[in-house]
């Protein structure tokens, strides 16, 4: 990968979209990349739409603005498809990754004439079954890694555990379920 990959996350407050963007930054960092992971801060409320961003590149990126033409868009909460401009600026050769039990093509009518690639992953179900709570961010993160190829999958798995130990230094009990959820999500993503 020589070019910069830019990713925009849409989630709702409490779902961990910000944490997912930081974990992706961690994982990419661990494979030697230059990274940026940052949220857009608005009203901090449970359930309110939030946006987070990643830039991943081989050289330090000096830009400190939001991402308007992402390579990938990640929808952590499918109800946002009709609430935000999900595919706004999305590059034609990129893709949108949606947390949904549906097939990718079933969601195309919600995407305002978007003609690019669509991927789905039932991250909510995976999170409930493997982590015990509907916190879909880590399964979504795993789907992003598979779809974007921004990090080699084996390196990603090797690094995730270490990253989680960094991020959840004070909550070790959440690490194991998250790792199971990640592996399952990597197998179950649809639209590849």
């Amino acid at each position: 990968m020589s070019k910069m990959v830019e990713i925009r996350w849409h989630g709702r407050g409490g779902q961990g979209a910000k944490t997912a963007s930081l974990l992706l930054a961690d994982a990419a960092f661990n494979t030697g990349k230059f990274v940026q992971g940052f949220p857009e801060y608005g009203p901090e409320r449970m359930g309110a739409p939030i946006t987070a961003y990643n830039r991943i590149s081989d050289e330090r990126c000096s830009l400190h603005c939001n991402i308007y033409e992402p390579d990938y868009v990640v929808i952590v909460d499918a109800t946002l498809l009709t609430a935000v401009d999900a595919t706004g600026g999305l590059k034609p050769d990129g893709g949108i990754i949606i947390n949904s039990a549906k097939e990718p093509e079933e969601l195309r009518p919600l995407l305002d004439g978007y003609e690019g690639r669509i991927y789905t992953i039932d991250a909510g179900k995976i999170a409930e079954e493997e982590i015990g709570r509907n916190i879909p961010n880590t399964p979504m993160l795993a789907a992003v890694v598979v779809v974007s190829g921004v990090i080699p999958e084996d390196e990603f798995l090797n690094d995730m555990e270490g990253s989680m130990k960094h991020k959840f230094a004070n909550k070790p009990q959440v690490i194991e379920g998250n790792m199971r959820a990640i592996k399952r999500s990597m197998r179950e993503v649809k639209g590849l």
Binding site: V35, Y41, S62
Partner: protein
Amino acid sequence: MGIRERLSGNEAVAIALKQINPDVLAAYPITPSTEVPQYFAQYVADGEVDTEFIAVESEHSAMSACIAAAAAGGRTATITSACGLALMWELLYVASGTRLPITLAVVNRALSAPININNDHSDSMGARDSGWIQLYSENNQEAYDNYLMSLRIAEHKDVMLPVMVCQDGFITSHAVENIELIEGEKVKNFVGEYVPKHSLIGGEPISIGPYDTPQFYFEHAYQRAQAMINSKKVILDVSKEFAALTGREYGLFEEYKMEDAERAIIVLNSSAGTAKGACDLLRAKGEKVGVLKLRVFRPFPLEELSKAISHLKAVAVMDKADSFSAMGGPLFTDVRSACYDLKTRPHIINYIYGLGGRDVRVEDFTLVFDALKQVVVDDRPGEIYRHVGVRGVQ
């Protein structure tokens, strides 16, 4: 070679403070302060520092406690943001007037009202006349590096002034990016021991901060102003020593593609990186544009800055704070004044931008560079007090 890490700007400052291991850190522990006191409190709880951490009930008290601790002879630090800095105002002058080398990490955020928690420079720009040295930082690396240098500058015998190290709220304070940290032992050697010349705790019985009658106040004010003049050389000397340690070079400002530039943007903090992105795009089209990022705003590098821009045809000075003077922002008025004595000088216009966290895009800077092109064609500045990024305003 340093330690490769990825950290937010707040984490970077917290680690700098951990490595410095100050004698006293007094800070307000919740909003409007930053995450830094929270991280630092963890270091204290884990025994990683032996700092006396004072969680005070307000920012006014935070600076008061720092002043007392510094007067007692301790190496003293604090952190704040936005209205927290505003609440310190009265004490900022006491700190500099008492010549106490306190260091303060500022995470730049807007002042209310309307209520807003996001980035602009209203807080530190309001404090620009308080006798504090001000260093500005483009990213987490510069926030870390500047902080490590700040106490060496503050504590120098020719300076003895407090220093604030600024970075942009959320944009860099909450963004995780790569950073190269310095090994703890090297930091320890670089910052050294602080040995105050006079202190309340010590051999000599002294008073600090008594009433200064008209027979003496003016002389002390003059000495404080001289110290600010002296600080420029000290900043450069400390930066040179830091470069020898890390390979990272810092001056009073950074010149990006300025050598043959005809038009340039002058800007502080995180947006400098975005301006460089716009500069690269236009350079690829053959346009002679550059970016000057000011690192040291107080003291203002009058001679060096005016010389660096004297060859340009047009300059846009970007202010992420308004002075409400009806003639432009604080950086603009200083830059423009600095150029008055030049034999040839560029046209200089001002843009107020990014207030209250308005995202500052690459396109905003290409628009400013385009506007400068028109200034060059017209050979006159036109309207000098402009805005970019405000809906409905050109």
